[in-house]
């Protein structure tokens, strides 16, 4: 459960990194982001990826870092494929990813 939360966080972080780039932002939302917005999204990405790393390491240092490397690979693959073939899919991710993250975080706290 915790690892799925970390995966989701990792995916969100790379989603943020992709959206911080003007061309990708435009292909998803149709408008150009302001420079300030890009910077803000980028910083948010760094915070989330750090969070994902910490969540992974909280389980086991060695195993967690292996998971983290794998999660990064998976996240970049998914985001890159989406951006190439179905960029509009990523528009709903703006709401879906935080919602899932909250649900998973709640579940992992309860269970």
């Amino acid at each position: 459960m915790i690892y799925s939360l970390a995966t989701l966080l990792c995916l969100s972080a790379f989603y943020a990194f992709a959206m911080a780039k003007t061309s990708h932002y435009k292909s998803v939302f149709g408008t150009r982001p302001s420079q300030k917005k890009s910077l803000y999204i980028n910083n948010l990405g760094w915070i989330i990826i750090l969070l994902s790393f910490v969540v992974n390491l909280s389980q086991a240092i060695g195993y967690g870092s292996l998971m983290f490397c794998g999660q990064m690979a998976l996240s970049v693959t998914l985001i890159a494929l989406c951006l190439t073939y179905q960029p509009t899919l990523l528009r709903s991710a703006l709401y879906l990813l935080p919602m899932w993250a909250i649900v998973l975080a709640a579940l992992s706290l309860i269970l």
Partner: protein, 529 residues
């Protein structure tokens, strides 16, 4: 200076990458598949598919294994009991028999259902996932030592290519998500960059630790200087469990198994056991070797306990409390082999491995495409170019096809033929050889397309073949919660889908070639030729 540095790095990356890329592709491909080594062994052995999860305690299983071996092989010189795990449901009981002077000992493998503790019927002779595991570093049809040196050279080349690649593809992190499939050769560069950067930590780790796995073959010098007997002495020190125990002429009818296991269970009650080996069970030299399970710890070699069977006393232990150097070395091998991984991490490993295959494949395709692009339409390529194109299609399209051939052979070969396991391997190599021969004659886009469709057809029929030849199919696997077997069917279908899309893509390229847009692409050139 900077310019020439950059240029020399590009040169290095191109040629070091190209020289052994097909061997590297084979190594990466086999290695990626071997992450599912035990799962493949399970798939290849339909008789064990119906085994339910084991419900007995490990001590019960060990005792029944010993009891079985006492009946079945009292005169063996070694008993081997492998306990069931999530990935291997059966209880393995093997015994080894001396064949007289100068001949190699003979192993007889048997498997028991861990719930009924009876022998499993209908086992077939197959290498399973071990074939790919061995192919990964021993290659095949080749002297083992030579093969390992070749693999080491290839890994070293890979490491050089990786580092020079990071230097020359400066923008890889900037263009992290960039993939533009409609842009000709540029698309291949994108695919190359994307597949390498998305799993960059994995690529560096797997290549470096790959070299470390064979480090004592590459650098025997420290061991040779430190130990009087050289590498042999080092091995005796590092792997005490591999020391040969000489048989004793005195018979022993009642080995003290109970006392040994009572001592073990009292002192290490939480320790999960991976396997138990008994050497010389019928004479006074009898010794019991217990190998612990590392679970998800980042360690490679198993902790080890050796008991004397005559007295039931603990004789020696190893790696129960490993030193820092042992932890580092074992840790590197453990992250390479991924034995510690649960299914989630295993799939992530697999994805990274596939990314590595794509990285190598796109690299060698790109080389050929670039040279081809520079040629005039009337020019035919040089021998080097033709060779590269042939090898490209033979490895990239041939290996998946050969793997499918291996799986088909496993299901379709009659169980009673002799040396069946070798025939499965033969099917793999024959399929590959046919692909290679075909690719000498046909190397154009049309050939790629035909191979892609063949692959798609072959892989999509594999679940059908499985359903017809065994008692299970995708629906029953899902109903019964057999997720390992179900994922095989899903993986086959996914592979088929990928090849189908590749075929379609190539078809649209071959027919709707727009020569006005780009100067000349290989497809257009060859269509006219």
């Amino acid at each position: 200076m900077k310019e020439s540095f950059f240029r020399s790095m590009t040169w290095l990356h191109t040629w070091v990458g190209l020289l052994l890329c097909w061997l590297l592709f084979l190594i990466f491909f086999a290695g990626t598949i071997s992450f599912f080594r035990h799962e493949i062994s399970l798939w290849n052995q339909p008789a064990v598919h119906s085994i339910e999860n084991n419900k007995y305690q490990q001590q019960t299983l060990i005792e029944s294994g010993l009891g079985y071996l006492r009946e079945a092989a009292p005169d063996a010189n070694r008993w081997w009991i492998g306990l069931p795990s999530d990935r291997q449901p059966e209880l393995q009981v093997s015994h080894r028999h001396s064949q007289g002077e100068g001949k190699r000992d003979k192993w007889i493998d048997e498997r028991l259902d861990p719930n009924t503790l009876t022998q499993i019927d209908g086992l077939i002779d197959t290498k399973g996932g071990n074939f790919f595991y061995r192919l990964h570093f021993d290659l095949h049809y080749m002297d083992r030592k030579l093969a390992r040196w070749l693999v080491c050279f290839a890994s070293l080349f890979m490491l050089i290519a990786l580092i020079s690649g990071i230097v020359i593809h400066k923008r890889i992190f900037k263009d992290l998500f960039q993939f533009r499939p409609q842009k000709g050769v540029r698309a291949w560069l994108d695919a190359h960059n994307l597949s390498s950067v998305l799993a960059l930590p994995f690529h560096l780790m797997i290549t470096y630790t790959g070299l470390v796995t064979l480090i004592f073959m590459l650098f025997p010098n420290p061991a040779e200087t430190l130990y009087d007997e050289g590498l042999k002495g080092f091995r005796a020190d590092f792997y005490p469990e591999r020391q040969r125990i000489e048989a004793s002429p005195d018979r022993l009818s009642e080995p003290a198994f109970d006392k040994a296991f009572a001592h073990f269970n009292q002192n290490w009650p939480e320790q999960k056991i991976k396997r138990v080996i008994v050497d010389h069970p019928d004479n006074a030299a009898v010794s019991i070797k217990i190998y612990g399970d590392n679970g998800t710890l980042i360690r490679d070699e198993y902790p080890f306990w050796q008991y004397s069977g005559a007295t039931g006393d603990l004789v020696k232990t190893a790696r129960i409390d490993p030193s820092n150097a042992e932890m580092l070395y074992g840790g590197m091998i453990a992250v390479h082999s991924g034995r510690l991984a649960h299914s989630g991490l295993r799939w992530l490993y697999f994805i990274c491995g596939i990314a590595g295959c794509i990285m190598i494949a796109s690299g060698c395709i790109m080389w050929a495409k670039r040279i081809r692009e520079r040629l005039k339409p009337t020019q035919s390529g040089s021998i080097g170019l033709k060779l590269v194109e042939t090898l490209n299609i033979a490895t990239i399209m041939g290996l998946p096809l050969a793997t499918a051939g291996f799986f088909y052979a496993n299901r379709l070969l009659p169980p009673e033929i002799t040396a069946r396991a070798d025939k499965e391997v033969l099917a793999f190599f024959v399929t590959w050889l046919i692909t290679a021969l075909a690719s000498i004659a046909f190397r154009n886009t049309r050939a790629w397309q035909i191979f892609a469709y063949t692959n798609a057809l072959v892989w999509i029929l594999l679940p059908v073949c499985n359903a017809l030849t065994t008692s299970g199919n995708l629906v029953t696997y899902i109903q019964e919660g057999k997720w390992i077997l179900a994922s095989f069917d899903f993986a086959f279908l996914a592979t088929a889908l990928v090849f189908y899309f590749q075929g379609n893509k190539l078809a649209s390229k071959a027919t709707h070639q727009a020569p006005t847009k780009r100067p000349r692409t290989r497809a257009a050139t060859e269509q006219e030729a």
